[in-house]
Amino acid sequence: MRTFLKLLAFSFSGLSFLQTFAQPTFPENGVADPRQGYYAFTHATLVQHAKSTITNATLIVRDGKIISVGSGLPVPIGAVEIDCTNKFMYPSFVDLYAEYGMPAQQNTGRGGGFNFAQQPQLETATKGPFGWNQAIRPEVNAYASFSINDAQAKSMREAGFGTVLTHVRDGIARGTGALVTLANEKENLVVLKEKASAHYSFSKGSSTQSYPSSLMGSISLLRQTYLDAEWYKNKPASEGVNLSLKAFNENRSLPQVFEAGDKWNDLRADRIGDEFGTQYIIKAGQNEYQRIREMKSTNATFILPLNFPLAQDVEDPNDARFVSLGDMKHWELAPTMVAAFEKEGIPFCLTTSDLKSVSQFATALKKAMEYGLSETAALEALTLTPAKTLGVADMVGTLEAGKLANFLITTGPLFQDKTQLLHNWIQGIKYTIKEDAGSINGTYTLAVNGPGGTEQFTLEVKAGGATTLYAKDTLQSKLSVDGKQIKFSYAPIAKRTRGGGAPGADSTRRPTGGFGGRGMGAMTEQLPVTATRLSGLVNGSSWNGIGTDSLGNPLSWTASLVKAGEYKTDSSKRKELPVVGSLTYPLLPFGWKEDQRPKSETLLIKNATVWTNEKDGILKESDVLIKNGKIAAVGKNLSDPSARVIDGTGKHVTPGIIDEHSHIAAASINEGGQSVSSEVRIGDNLNPDDVNIYRQLSGGVTTSHILHGSANVIGGQTQLLKLRWGGNDEDLKFRAWPGQIKFALGENVKRSSSPLGNNRYPDTRMGVEQVLVDAFTRAKDYQRAWKEYDLNKGKKGFTGTAPRRDLELDALVEILEKKRFITCHSYVQSEINSAMKVAEQMGYTVNTFTHILEGYKVADKMLKHGAFVSTFSDWWAYKMEVEDAIPYNAAIMQKVGLTVAINSDDAEMARRLNQEAAKIVKYGGVTEEEALKMVTLNPAKMLHVDEKVGSLKPGKDGDIVLWSDHPLSIYAKSIYTIVDGTIYFDRAKDEQMQKEIDAERLRLVRKMNGEKRSGAPTIPAQPSYQFMHTCSDHGHSHGLLVIDADETK
């Protein structure tokens, strides 16, 4: 009996009008009603934090804080006791990635990608003494625009959250976040920390300014902002007041949260952090499980969202056809992500962010747990880890004296299916999530008084509201409780053949969710309309009410408890982990399974025709030995007992093909937001998940030079790759390579194809020349200023300050100092000539003219200048500036004495570069050996890596191709493409992999179909489109599923 009285108190204590905080400065409209909010929660199973549970615990709370906590503590005088027998208590959750209480976003931004058809906005539209770029908004403070929103708060509270870090998700530097509770109180009282964090991302958000228009531009802008902010500390008069830089500096002492949202972006963010001495807390996406080791190497704490992809409706094979294996595998593997972080020991928090609705959180979390996330880790990720990560563990995250009274009361262990979240207390205020229905379980005597006298029944109420009602016979019955109100109806069991048990007496209904799940709703069993219906109020151990019987006669009734129900926890059987397919690197078709990753081997190719590109020329019936990733020997009758021997009879060996001009394997290519963007670096945004890497290996390519696009005169820094398929972004990089940079001239930089005309300088070839003159004039002044500063800074009495470091000019100074080489997109003779004249005037050399389709007109001048040239074999007439392009161009330039390369600039043609080289024999009659050099040794020379690659010489890298036929023939196929002695393309293995892809696709399509049939939510099939970057120079079409990254929205 005593239990029920306390339960009564428990149920009534939390109506919120009974409690509120008083704010001394705010006048009261009425009579003051100060309260202490002094409670003692007793007899609970209290989980202080993931690793400490107190049984028979008492938690004492006053003024919104925890006063003490311990086992069996006495109830202090003046405190209201709330009996929590059979209840569990947990710290309420903390979400570090909320947008709670922030104004609605207006996404007016241009998204990403430079757009040739859109007019640039070159200056910021933000008014006031702020920085130059609209996407840098460190001056924005979340607290300033925070207003409580109880509808949002309620859904978060229902999911178990008590405290959130909220910020304005807009821009690259986003300003500060505020730590707030989810209590429905005045803002003054719920803001725990007004500047709790600083936020960053790569997305320009609502910025309408053109720059940055690429991921690499975002990276550069953020790097430059770090440098500018540092420089601004000395209050340079020339800058005036710059509140953005001021705020940026102030924010740096806060925890730094970076929304990266993708495995590679996580690494990109972390590298910026490393450069500027900052360890970001990384807000992840859904694909980090694909590179878990790399994630660990960041040493970051991650904030993980739980928005797992839904199964797609792939029942129609036509639809399934365009859903890629990678997307299907991602669907299957994404729920393993959180468990993967736990297993790898990477600290992580969980967030409700990215879910369509916060109400999906419990289900998503349960899914993560099904896929291996432990309860302990889940709780820690929701409580202590976020608190510690933000440095607010003195306030929230555990149930310890002195902290906020933010806690959950549940009917059982938190993550069990049947457990329900009853209350979420925030700052000592109770928020009822669900009335305590479980407590009515037990056996009752039911007395119903009607016209025919009193009828006695025995009523058993079980967990979940299932009832058994019997007098002489068992009756069909149904009970529902809504808070204090009870409804109950019963009828004799209808005659029908049905095996076993009493219908309705033991419903098979399962709870729909864990905490926060639905309460006792309708049972599936329908009672007849003639059933006796009772309703009344629950009043502890006795219930009273009225009703009508089957004939409509009025009734009254009482029920009294005979025996309270036992609380049963779920039997804690750990389910088997779901079976999922294996991860591959990358998670794409033709990706390697962990144990199948190709390794460097000792390889001996015997008896082949060997194209050495050395003075030996073409060797018949010769051998090539590769060892330790290098070419060990070339000649006849080679042997090595440790070697894998490959018969090369009738076949040809050449050096691996080197593509001087490519745009594969990058997340962005064109930073067109300004005419000079030498600060951006392709290497900052490599994309190892581009299937074109593998496709190009199939065509014998081993090295690709990834160029910035041609949207502007001085583009970005390029990146040389080795096609180490399966590696990460760093693995792809060609090691120890002097950098290059892309320049461009002519129609593209003048934006000639823009239908709206052009407002970005330059608009003529006259202006293009002046952009170059201006940029290098500034670079030289900058170079001199630094030289002077470096020379004098140590001297006594020197009072000067360091010049502002400018990443744009740094790259140009590298050119002047011959540490960085230019590859210059160019077509017509006038512009080629002018570019050389500017270079000669400024003291640098144009290393490579790329495209250079009118190169044949000024070949002698380029030779004199000392340039290399890289061109197409036979392209022409796709734009005005290639009207005079001729396929004899390469041969003429070669005959004049230039070192000529043939490049692709096209992911498809790159697979046939050997054939493109063959065309130079056809058009212009160079020798076959010279033609092959145009795609091997010559590009190596212009990339300044001919010491390492480009010919078959002992000591050089083991980058070779074994061809089925003469390498300049259309009938030649690569049998093996080898990089660093590692076979990355093996035509026989490729065939095997295709079979595996088909089998894996079939398995996953069936699994998705099964998901659909089981009633799980699905989405329509989503064709797996691929973005492809180009020079934006010519109109290759790459098929149904390829979207040109420059395409207009």
Binding site: G112, N318, A877, M880, K919, I970, Y971, F1027, S1037, G1039
Partner: protein
């Protein structure tokens, strides 16, 4: 006396002329004998040491035992060691309709509107386009000039590439009506790559498959009405669009449907079933998946660009190279095109060569750019192979024309006329060989 024409003759003159002086050839007068040739007839046959006799623009004899008369009034071309082929036919092209694709003023290829069956590519064909001669240099002697469009684009015409004007060029006028099918695929909406991918699925409310099928249905409805219109003996009002599809309905014209996906192909098959049209699929990158159906309905395919990337990430990396062989195996009549807008069709033979590297025999690959194309366009009775009675459209190459390593076209006849193989590129090459004195010391300098 035999007049021996050596192929280098046409190049050896140091005539530094503009292309404007490359004149269309005069009609054939003397009989021509091509002798000692390896003749690839285009129908699968190869004749070693063969002779072709050409008179009055026609092939009068072909074989390895054709007597060559001793006469001063014949021309003999000794093709010893060389390969002789039927003139190549480019089955889909914007040749003469687009000079420089980025310059709008030079484009006459896409008319406004969705329903333009009455628009005729032939009337805009510029027979003086600088691109034409660069194709002839690679053995392409005819091209099907095709209008582009949003939906029903107009009619294409086959032109021979040695003419003073489009009327002279027309080899077969208005042979096919071209329809560009809607994609019947969802596209992601908004956003672009590089900054975190795109915004997800199609905006709700629009169903591109249904919308596309409705559009296709509207063309069927148009044809039904056209059929009814043509059943009338007289018309109160003349409808030019109905008039334009008369040939389609009575099978004097073919229906060329541009499409790639299986759904597009299936939707196209309906036109065979309902209207009995001669259907040709242009594009057909996914055609190998429904090859048996195409065969069943006698639908032929023009593979527009074997040199392309696989459609899906998961596809065999060489799938586009292998599609031709799959169609060959299934018995589908197909042809190969070269739709590359950077090279303007000059690599037609190499697209076929790639198909030969990936499953076709060389003669099958040759047929895909000669006889099959002639069949698909409907001119196989006049051209497409080196067979008696056909027009003498003939190409001589130093070696295998399918392989850039050996392809070098030295001599060509269009309807028996020996054409000038000079082109703008050769002339510019000569001009700058002069500048740099690259031929100094060479014979004949």
């Amino acid at each position: 006396m035999k007049k021996i024409f050596l192929s280098i003759l046409c190049l050896s003159s140091l005539l530094l002329s503009a292309q404007e002086t490359v004149l269309p050839a005069k009609g054939q007068t003397d009989p021509i004998y091509i002798i000692n040739a390896t003749i690839h007839t285009g129908n699968g046959q190869v004749i070693e040491k063969g002779t072709i006799r050409v008179e009055g623009g026609k092939i009068l004899a072909v074989g390895d035992n054709i007597p060559v008369p001793r006469s001063a009034n014949i021309q003999v071309v000794d093709a010893a060691g060389k390969h002789v082929y039927p003139g190549l036919i480019l089955p889909t092209s914007a040749l003469g309709l687009v000079e420089i694709s980025a310059v709008r003023a030079t484009q006459d290829v896409r008319e406004i509107g969705d329903l333009n069956p009455n628009v005729r590519a032939l009337v805009a064909y510029n027979s003086d386009s600088k691109v034409i001669n660069t194709l002839r240099s690679n053995g392409i002697l005819m091209a099907n000039v095709v209008p582009q469009g949003n939906f029903v684009a107009g009619s294409s015409s086959l032109v021979q590439l040695d003419a003073w004007n489009w009327e002279d060029a027309a080899y077969q006028a208005d042979g096919a009506i071209h329809v560009y099918f809607p994609s019947l695929m969802a596209r992601p909406s908004g956003g672009r790559g590089g900054m975190g991918g795109f915004g997800g699925p199609q905006a709700s409310g629009s169903d591109p498959v249904k919308e596309g099928l409705d559009k296709i249905e509207s063309f069927k409805q148009f044809l039904r009405e056209a059929k009814a219109y043509h059943a009338q003996p007289t018309h109160e009002q003349t409808n030019l669009k109905f008039e334009a599809v008369k040939g389609l309905l009575n099978k004097k014209q073919k229906l060329f449907v541009h499409g790639n996906t299986v759904k597009q192909l299936l939707a196209a098959l309906d036109f065979v079933q309902e209207f009995g049209v001669d259907l040709v699929i242009v594009g057909g990158s996914e055609s190998y998946q429904v090859a048996d159906l195409l065969k069943k309905y006698n639908v032929s395919v023009i593979l527009q660009q074997p040199h392309s990337l696989p459609t899906a990430e998961d596809d065999d990396v060489d799938q586009p190279y292998k599609t031709a062989a799959a169609l060959q195996k299934a018995g589908v009549l197909f042809s190969i095109s070269d739709d590359d807008s950077q090279t303007r069709g000059r690599n037609l033979a190499f697209n076929a060569g790639t198909a030969a590297a990936y499953g076709l025999s060389k003669e099958e690959a040759l047929a895909a750019i000669t006889l099959n194309t002639a069949k698909i366009i409907g001119v196989a009775d006049r051209t497409g192979s080196i067979e008696v009675g056909k027009d003498a459209n003939i190409v001589v190459s130093d070696g295998d024309i399918l392989d850039m390593r050996s392809s070098n076209v030295t001599f060509a006849l269009i309807q028996g006329r020996k054409i000038d193989l000079t082109d703008k590129h050769k002339l510019l090459n000569q001009r700058f060989e002069e500048k740099y004195e690259l031929n100094k010391g060479k014979k004949g300098f």
